[in-house]
Amino acid sequence: MSDNHHDDEHHEHSLKPHIFNLLALFGLTTLTWFSAAYLKFGEPWDNLIALGIAITKASLVILIFMHVKEATRLVKVCAFGGFFWIFLFFAYLVGDVLTRPGTTTYEGWQPDVRKAVEAPIHHGHGGGHEGGHGHGEGHGAGHGEDHGHGGGH
């Protein structure tokens, strides 16, 4: 789209901005990798930094590699409209999840990284989620008296 209106003019495009852009993207990738690994500012901040860098990188790709910087307003709207729209969806979704009864409140919340960092322990213990699979056969089981109610008999 860079040259919509100058197709016939001999206006040489330069590769330079793209090279700079690639270097900037390399830099940002290194930054986000480094900050995620070594800088710990606490739960919301780490995530916001990572997301902020991702959004910056995506914007650089869109604006420079995809030539949106020089494009018409309509194309700009198309390029960013989808992101805006899905963001609205996220906002609603998170709003619902956080205000549902029984959801943890997130004030001052810290993930328990300490434990998760420990070497993986392979308990041969899958019982927890296996319980549900069996229900599939329950389809035909109709009105039988509820077997084992209470579980304590």
Binding site: M1, S2, N4, H5, D7, E12, H13, L15, H18, I19, L22, L25, F26, T29, T30, T32, W33, A36, A37, Y38, E43, D46, N47, A50, L51, A54, A58, V61, I62, F65, M66, L74, V75, C78, A79, G82, W85, I86, F89, F90, L93, V94, V97, T103, P111, D112, V113, K115, A116, V117, E118, P120, I121, H122, H123, G124, H125, G126, G128, H129
Partner: protein
């Protein structure tokens, strides 16, 4: 991919001018990409939902992934984006089919490396019992919602799988383009006046790159730990 949406060497009957044809095909491509954003967005919405519900499990899941590999793979994919830009630049400035082909080969090369690395990463998941619904064992037990790490890996496989699928489709289209270039097909003569196809495909490839730019922090980085060298 709507290949017919992209410009071809002749002015189609229903357009009045080349400019109209070009602008229309780019608008179509952008609308298609907006659609793709919503498509991947749905999967990201599932991610956002479950990360809000089970944060520790997602941190534990992230830590099963190797950030160094993810980091290097991101660089590889960015390189493929650059070679794509090079191909588009070569077409835009009438640099001849060889340079266009060079850009495309570079893109296929870097894309290929990315997929090969992904293949080994997937393999490691099978070995470590991290494939949901197949052989899953929660990697860390004593954290809240340890079982929900399974959802993290379901999303990991789902989202990276869809991304890889988009790359494979893209590489297929590039193979067709290269075939056209080498055999000198009339639709594959791309120069200053006519490069809609290359540029439109470039947009698609960059979009695939953007998806990964978000997948990388979401899956690998949020709650990562220092890499062990």
């Amino acid at each position: 991919m709507s290949s017919q949406a992209l410009g071809e060497s002749k002015l189609h009957h229903h357009f009045e001018t080349y400019e109209q044809q070009k602008e229309t095909s780019f608008l179509g491509m952008w609308l298609f990409l907006a659609q793709e954003v919503m498509f991947f967005g749905g999967a990201f919405a599932a991610y956002v939902n479950y990360r809000t519900l089970y944060p520790e499990a997602f941190v534990a899941g992230s830590q099963q992934l190797d950030t160094t590999i993810g980091f290097l793979n991101t660089l590889v994919l960015l390189c493929s984006s650059f070679t794509m830009v090079y191909a588009v630049w070569a077409a835009q400035n009438s640099k001849g089919p060889k340079k266009i082909a060079l850009g495309l080969y570079g893109t296929i090369f870097f894309g290929g490396i990315f997929l090969i690395v992904k293949y080994f990463e997937y393999g490691a998941k099978f070995a470590h019992h991290l494939v949901p619904g197949y052989n899953f064992i929660p990697p860390v037990q004593d954290i809240p919602h340890a079982e929900s790490t399974e959802i993290f890996f379901a999303l990991y496989f789902g989202m990276t799988g869809l991304h890889a699928l988009h790359m494979i489709v893209g590489m297929g289209i590039m193979a067709v383009m290269l075939f056209g270039l080498h055999t000198g097909k009339s639709w594959a003569i791309w120069d200053r006046k006519n490069h809609n196809f290359v540029e439109g495909f470039g947009l698609y490839w960059h979009f695939v790159d953007i998806v990964w730019i978000f997948l990388f922090p979401f899956l690998y980085l949020l709650g990562a730990h220092p890499p062990s060298f």
